[in-house]
Amino acid sequence: MNSLGRLFAVMGKELRQLRRDRLTFAMIVGIPIMQILLFGYAINTDVRNLKSAIADQAGTHLSRQFISDLKQTQVLDFQYVVETPMEIEELLRTGRISAGVYIPYDFDRRVIDGNRFAAHLLVDGADPTIVGVANQLRSMRVTFDTWEAPSESAGTLEVRPFYNPDQRSAVYVVPGLIGIILTFTMMLFTAVSIVRERELGNLELLINTPVRTIELMVGKVVPYIVIGLVQLGLIVAVGQLLFNVPLRGSFVDLYLAASVFIAANLALGLFVSTIVKTQFQAIQATIFMIMPSILITGFIFPFDGMPKIIQYIGEILPNTHFIRMTRGIMLRDASLGDMASELLILVVFTFVAMTAAILRFSKRLD
């Protein structure tokens, strides 16, 4: 009874302080929106409007038709029209274009023969995404090669839709982004929470009161779970509105998974807060933890494609499991029951981190 009273006192105090802290409050709303806009628009594997050059030495009806088809894919934006492949190379080298198309003078001949490349696509090989695009474009030339003979039907030439609506990256990115945003904001808030009280001197008073460590820790965590769930709602809503990200599975499942995931990050943040000495260190530690959450959890690179050892490390991170759950629930209409083991791992993680934080925190100054 008393214990509950003290718990509510700590929670109430945290909420009041949070409400007064305009910047933090703005961050709660600002970070998710900013990130979703940044990632939603910038992390874009369906590359479009690459700056390109075209050198059409053939200048035939067929070659012009081909160029027009290329334009329609919207992948290449021909900003430069040049005469020779050397000029394309020069533009590539100086970085003014990322791709160039060279159509040799015997283009029609090559197309009809069908046993040689009809045209050349020159790309900036330094950028793996662009190389990927180039490989996609190659399939377009195959269509040409197997095409029987030039006719008036050339205008209806089938060009493969490179912009595949079912592979839009925002759809794939947003569910993962939920995990990144929650990791970042939740860890940051709790990582500074105890060390801030220490820096401001509040802790010396607090540890001299009858408040128990567990009441203090839980009281500091619970208000943020609510905030995390608000953020989740925001991301899902913005994702739906701007990028048509679906929520195919159950809303309840998503919130349940997120609640546990948020608790896991808060517990980890608290643990960090019991180790670091200053708020600055707390922020550094958070950034240190956020990097692997982005890189090795399957958010950016496919999880199965990573070396085994990295995969093992990735399995320790809560975000790895959460991303699997959000992608499952949001995109594949999976239920939490299908992914019980992922949820269980997060529960265990939370418990371990919270216990570690409680054990590390002592109501002493030395």
Binding site: R6, D21, G201, E204, D366
Partner: protein, 318 residues
């Protein structure tokens, strides 16, 4: 009111705390009887805060131990927490909460009965003259207001034992008197108060006093006892050229200290020196300085100077 009570609220034996090579507190014995104001007088860094922290259970002593309200220190000091109040030297309430919010938080943390909470907070606000600041963020309070609020929070749950670490460092003289009046009220209700200070006038108000220097207790007793047993003769000198007079008196080998207080000089000479008064007058008249001299009773400041000098003397000869 001042019933001598043999019931000890704090009994410390050989309490020591080292920070690396620094002995912040060494071998401290302390007996604090119930319902008294016990003062800790000592210069900066003499170990006052460290001692208080050890007694609260916030710092583990390097050696030695204490019994505080029947609880062993070091030991399970959690049982002690509801029974003690602690006003930290540095303001430690939440600056982004208002006065009343801080008071409510403290009341809840100490599980103060819900039905009496509002009345108790109201009482404290009036008693510590915080009516105008009730809804002000504590971060914006003046120094004195902060200290009054901190005291209100420290006594809210009616602790038996109250630790006050330099509670009046930012309080003006008038408020300081009110502050002390409220401390005496608490004592009358049975509270024991351990208060640290640098101020002599505050030390004089304590029932008992320990003087700390470099982590060691150099004297303790009632202020009157301490003043009576300095082992020093105190001579007040009113000279026409005080600066020169001071320089001359300092040359005398027996003089412990010479301090200028306004126009007057205060000279401390050990009791063991014969004819201390004529020693001073001879020195001054030899150098054509007109002065009137008078032997006066020792003040607490004299006691402080005497005991801290005594301890330092052998150190400098090493």
């Amino acid at each position: 009111m001042n019933v001598v009570n043999t019931d000890l609220v704090i009994k410390a034996r050989g309490l020591s705390k080292n920070f690396g090579n620094l002995a912040a507190v060494s071998d401290l014995d302390l007996d604090v009887p119930r319902a008294m104001i016990y003062g800790f007088l000592g210069p900066n860094g003499s170990g006052k805060s460290t001692t208080i922290r050890m007694l609260c259970g916030l710092l583990t002593p390097s050696s030695g131990s204490a019994v505080v309200l029947g609880t062993e220190v070091p030991g399970d000091t959690e049982a002690l927490k509801p029974r003690i109040g602690y006003m930290t030297q540095k303001f430690s309430l939440y600056g982004d909460l208002t006065c009343i919010e801080n008071l409510r938080f403290i009341a809840d943390i100490y599980s103060y009965p819900r039905e009496k909470k509002a009345a108790r907070i109201n009482e404290l606000i009036h008693k510590y003259d915080l009516t105008a600041q009730v809804h002000q963020f504590t971060g914006t309070l003046s120094g004195g207001e902060k200290q009054r609020l901190a005291l209100a929070c420290a006594v809210l749950h009616k602790p038996e034992l109250l630790f006050l670490d330099e509670p009046t460092s930012a309080v003006d003289p008038k408020s300081r008197r009110d502050f002390w009046a409220s401390l005496f009220e608490l004592v009358e209700m049975g509270t024991t108060i351990l208060v640290s200070t640098h101020y002599m006038d505050e030390a004089e108000r304590c029932h008992r006093l320990a003087i700390l220097d470099h982590g060691t207790k150099v004297a303790d007793g009632t202020p009157t006892d301490l003043q009576a047993s300095t082992g020093m003769t105190v001579i007040e000198v009113l000279a026409d050229n005080p600066a020169r007079a001071q320089a001359l008196i300092k040359r005398l080998p027996d003089v412990t200290s010479v301090t200028q207080l306004g126009l007057k000089l205060r000279v401390l000479i050990p009791n063991t020196t014969p004819e201390p008064l004529s020693l001073v007058t001879t020195m001054l008249s030899e150098h054509d300085i007109h002065a009137s001299t008078e032997e006066v009773p020792a003040s607490l400041e004299d006691v402080f100077v005497a005991v801290t000098q005594k301890k330092r003397a052998p150190e400098t000869s090493e």
